[in-house]
């Protein structure tokens, strides 16, 4: 499970859905792996407005990453340039940056977000609800959110 995914999950118990404590779920005993994902600065820019930044800071901290306290301010974008380049890591990417110009500062932020949100993978571990305490297992990167019958 990618760190980013946690921003879209909450406790499956019906009574918890309305509780602010059921989001984000808290990572426990997480075994991490880094998985190479094509860098997509357009996606990161356009994803930011819909992310719950505080939740992301919490999830990141639980996995050992520090994000800035405030959500980075990046404009919404509608195009990318389409040159294929190899980045510093040597990965082949369909990027070459965003059309319309990105400052070095923005580029640094985007690369950092990419690394933490997209390439950090929880292979094994748990996610725990802060409201009811239920533990959701993550096994071979797949989270199990099927509740036992008595909780449905």
């Amino acid at each position: 499970m990618k760190l980013l995914t946690a921003n879209f999950l909450s406790c499956a118990v019906k009574a918890c859905k309305s509780s602010p404590l059921s989001f984000p779920l808290h990572f426990r005993e997480a075994e991490l792996a880094s998985k190479s994902v094509p860098y997509n600065p357009l996606l990161l820019s356009n994803l930011l407005p819909r992310l719950d930044w505080q939740a992301l800071v919490t999830s990141s901290k639980e996995l050992g990453f520090t994000l800035p306290d405030a959500k980075p301010e990046l404009p919404l974008r509608s195009t990318t340039t389409t040159t294929t380049t190899a980045n510093d890591d040597g990965d082949m990417n369909m990027d070459g940056g965003i059309g319309g110009g990105v400052s070095d500062e923005e580029e640094k932020t985007l690369r950092m977000l990419h690394k933490v949100l997209m390439e950090t993978e929880v292979v094994e571990g748990k996610m725990v609800c802060g409201s009811c305490g239920f533990e959701y297992g993550i096994h071979q990167t797949v989270g199990n959110f099927l509740l036992p019958s008595h909780l449905v």
Binding site: M1, K2, L4, T5, N7, F8, L9, S10, A12, K17, F23, V37, P38, N40, L42, L43, S45, N46, L47, P49, R50, L76, R77, S78, T79, T80, T82, M94, M118, Y136, G137, H139, Q140, T141, V142, G143, N144, F145, L146, L147, P148, S149, V152
Partner: protein
């Protein structure tokens, strides 16, 4: 996509179907007529126009979720061809299925298809083992796709075997009676819809307002046995003004299948 003469209106554009050659003996719903009808629905020029108008480039990135991914062929198709089908590549996708085996298979189907089409592919996040969208934060799905267990059946299989049993493992090359029983059970979950074939679909429709974002749209497959006119009446009668349009219809053997879009 280049063609010298324009196809007649209503003809789906042709995009390659994702490979599922890695699926050998795993008990997942194989790509079938209903799966292909979904691919055709999204390939209609009218549907491409609908989605790219609803989610124009430069607006926050849409989240696409498929419930009941099975082989993963539908999710892989949508993820791999996002740039062409939705007019943008900055789309994130997730797959949900009650079967852990289906989720592991789907991850491979999607990853393979996306790596073959880097110039149009969306970003696939994860597959999650989940009953419908119960794992998701409320009101976050923009494009929801559901090919439900739609066959009317006298029995509606309970999820309790999966909910209360041992941790699921990948079922493949079954040898033990236990595995064979699990295969039969998982396959029954892929098609058996209970009363009018609507028991699972009805559960989703009941919570639709809690699942979709304000701009969200559900693509739903129905068969004639689901009595589509009754479903339309029910959906359009729900609170907050839902619309339900038929996108495409096709006869497949004894079945008459249709894809509908439901949105506000």
């Amino acid at each position: 996509m280049t063609s010298t003469s324009a196809p007649p209106p209503g003809t789906p554009l042709k995009f390659p179907t994702p490979s599922t050659s890695h699926i050998t003996s795993q008990p997942v719903y194989p790509p079938s007529e209903d799966s292909y009808l979904l691919l055709d629905a999204f390939s209609l020029p009218s549907e491409i126009a609908f989605i790219s108008t609803r989610f124009p480039a430069g607006t926050p990135s849409p989240l696409l979720v498929e419930i009941g991914t099975g082989s993963g062929v539908v999710s892989a198709f949508l993820a791999a061809h996002a740039g062409a089908l939705f007019g943008r590549q900055d789309v994130i996708t997730m797959g949900l299925d009650v079967s852990y085996t289906a989720n592991t298979v789907t991850e491979t189907t999607i990853s393979k298809a996306c790596s073959q089409h880097p110039e149009t592919s969306a970003t696939f996040l994860d597959c999650i083992t989940s009953d419908l969208t119960s794992c998701l934060k409320p009101k976050c799905v923009d494009i929801l796709v559901f090919n439900p267990p739609y066959v009317p059946t006298p029995e509606y299989p309970s999820l309790s075997t999966l909910r209360d049993g041992k941790q699921q493992k990948v079922i493949m090359n079954s040898k033990s009676q236990e595995d064979y029983d699990m295969e039969d059970y998982l396959l029954s979950l892929t098609y058996a819809g209970g009363d009018k074939g609507m028991e699972t679909t009805d559960r989703l429709l009941d919570q639709l307002h809690e699942v979709l974002s304000g701009r969200g749209v559900l693509y739903l497959l129905l068969c004639a046995g689901n009595r589509p006119p009754e479903v339309v009446e029910r959906v359009t009668g729900m609170e907050s003004g839902w619309k339900m349009d038929r996108v495409i219809e096709r006869r497949a053997g004894r079945e008459l299948l249709s894809i509908w879009r439901i949105y506000r």
